[in-house]
């Protein structure tokens, strides 16, 4: 079942950024955080803990680390500390991050 956004759509600021999230294309106003854009898109979870618990953004100020997502291949990224950017590819973080076996590049 689709979980609709818990928030009203953000006012348009003019410039927009289009990015990909879990296969869907999201258009968000430039200047807002990725966490805000994800909250505007859907009320569903954006990550699962190691134990499978569903979580989403909580504090919006970088303190709680609940908004962790994978951005352009880099996991453990705080969505609330990341601005939306044209073309970014965002995925939910399911469980702990995987180590790729080599340095992040």
């Amino acid at each position: 079942m689709i979980i609709v956004s818990r928030f009203q759509p953000p006012p348009k600021t003019g410039a927009t950024a289009e990015f990909e999230y879990e296969g869907a294309s999201i258009t968000a106003p430039q200047g807002i955080s990725l966490a805000a854009a994800l909250l505007a898109h859907s009320g569903a979870y954006t990550r699962q803990t190691a134990g499978g618990d569903a979580r989403a953004a909580f504090c919006m100020m970088g303190v709680c680390f609940e908004c962790l997502v994978e951005v352009d291949g880099v996991p453990n990224t705080q969505a609330c500390m990341t601005q939306v950017r044209q073309g970014m590819v965002v995925k939910r973080q399911i469980g702990l991050r995987r180590l790729n076996g080599c340095n992040d590049s």
């Binding site: 928030f7 009203q8 600021t13 909250l39 919006m60």
Partner: protein
């Protein structure tokens, strides 16, 4: 910001490292964007523009998206920006780490859609976003401020669920005469409550026993007791608040001695009137040094900069004292209301020491039951709970659970909490990759 402005005006070379993308901290977050929707947020928020303009003209160098992850007395900071870390040395370092929300744990607080009242305010400030269907629950001035801002935005909360009891108000009354020195602030608070009354927002008083569940649609079912009756509310967003506490992770990691503030039920760094700590060259100011609000933070920043100017030999003690007069008066006036507010909006015991099924460490999924079990098995202190159960070892490094573990260890009795030393705060105080640390060389050292 005020410290940077005063220090730069006084002739010092100033580097301001701000983790956020724009200046303003959390209170004046994004005020510089001058969004049309900022009109909902009130005059106090708008007044932050003055600081931003003064900072821009001060000559201080400002770096944004700059996360300080290590502070050493002597003094130097190690900071990360765009995935690259560097070391900057300085004669003096001022930590203005601000405040965070006091964690408000209860069964179901980790569900998507349960957020802090501050988070809703940040969404208003940074994106002009409003919740569709929100309940505000807890206690404290910010609860009323966010409710009033939502009302002004044409999106009133569905209900206010308030944990304040008449007993708390009675304990606060002896502090009311002193609080009258901050009459302006008191009147503002009454104005907020008046606005909420005029909007007809449903208020549930003497609330307790918070619990949240959600169904397949994602809607939150919030149950609680109010004046003895069991109540249920359905909402899309549940916004909780029980006051704010100093963000002390960085000051702890820097080795600064902390003291227990019994009235505020929180630890804060020990410092003198100028913000100087027991670590040479390290200073603190603002809510990170003790909750006082925006005006107090601004005044404390000015005093810290004056103290640093004196310590640097730029001004004499007499000049420092003369220039400090206004700021000291502001600090005295704004602090006068704190004992009243701290007592009137005290966090209830069941938030400080929640029911067994409550997740306490959100990062590592550790419940209150597991912690109490650990205590009965011999884990007597906070550090032992941390190392045996992993509570506090996740990415937030205890920011969301230290207060509650302390609360459980003291069975909710605030008189015992100050004796429970928090576990060591270790650097990096925000996660940094090994690769980024390895790339740090002495060639990256720079002097502020």
């Amino acid at each position: 910001m005020s410290a940077a402005i005063t220090a730069a005006d006084g002739g010092l070379r100033v580097l301001l490292l701000d983790e956020q993308a724009q200046p303003g901290g959390q209170i004046y977050r994004n005020v510089g964007a001058r969004l049309a929707t900022h009109s909902w947020l009130g005059k106090d928020y708008a007044s932050g523009l003055r600081l931003l303009d003064a900072l821009a003209q001060s000559g201080a160098t400002v770096q944004f998206g700059a996360t300080v992850w290590r502070v050493d007395s002597g003094s130097r900071v190690v900071w990360s920006q765009n995935g690259i870390s560097q070391v900057t040395t300085a004669s003096h370092i001022l930590l203005a780490s601000g405040a965070q929300e006091r964690p408000v744990p209860f069964p179901g607080w980790t569900l998507p859609g349960v957020m802090t009242a501050g988070a809703a305010q940040i969404l208003m400030k940074t994106a002009g976003m409003l919740p569709k269907d929100a309940v505000l629950a807890g206690s404290g001035p910010l609860l009323y401020l966010v409710a009033a801002q939502m009302i002004d935005a044409g999106c009133p909360p569905k209900a206010l669920v308030e944990t304040q009891t008449p007993h708390m108000m009675l304990r606060a009354l002896p502090h009311l005469p002193k609080a009258l020195l901050s009459a302006g602030t008191l009147l503002k608070g009454l104005g907020l409550i008046g606005k909420i009354r005029a909007a007809g927002t449903r208020r549930y008083k003497c609330a307790s026993s918070f619990a949240a569940t959600s169904d397949d649609s994602g809607m939150i079912n919030f149950s609680f007791r109010s004046k003895g009756r069991l109540e249920n509310l359905t909402c899309a967003v549940l916004l909780t608040h029980q006051g704010v506490i100093p963000s002390t992770h960085i000051s702890h990691a820097a080795g600064i001695t902390h003291e227990w503030n019994a009235a505020q039920v929180a630890f804060q760094p020990s410092c003198d009137i100028w913000g100087a700590t027991d670590r040479p060259g390290l200073h603190v100011a603002g809510d990170g040094a003790g909750i006082g609000g925006a005006e107090a933070a601004c005044a404390a920043g000015t005093l810290a900069a004056l103290g640093i100017l004196r310590a640097s030999g730029n001004i004499s003690a007499d000049t420092r004292n003369q220039r400090a007069t206004t700021a000291r008066a502001t600090l005295f006036r704004t602090r006068a209301i704190r004992p009243f507010l701290d007592a009137a909006y005290a966090p209830p015991a069941e938030i400080l020491s929640p029911p067994d099924q409550t997740i306490i460490c959100r990062c590592e999924d550790v419940t209150a039951r597991a912690i109490r079990q650990g205590m009965s098995e011999g884990a007597a202190g906070h550090r032992q709970i941390k190392t045996s159960l992993r509570a506090g070892m996740g990415p937030c490094q205890g920011r969301m659970c230290d207060s509650t573990v302390r609360g459980i260890l003291s069975a909710g009795k605030t008189s015992r909490m100050g004796d429970i030393a928090p576990p060591r705060a270790r650097t990096p105080i925000k996660p940094i990759t090994l690769g980024e640390m390895a790339a740090l060389t002495t060639h990256s050292e720079d002097t502020a």
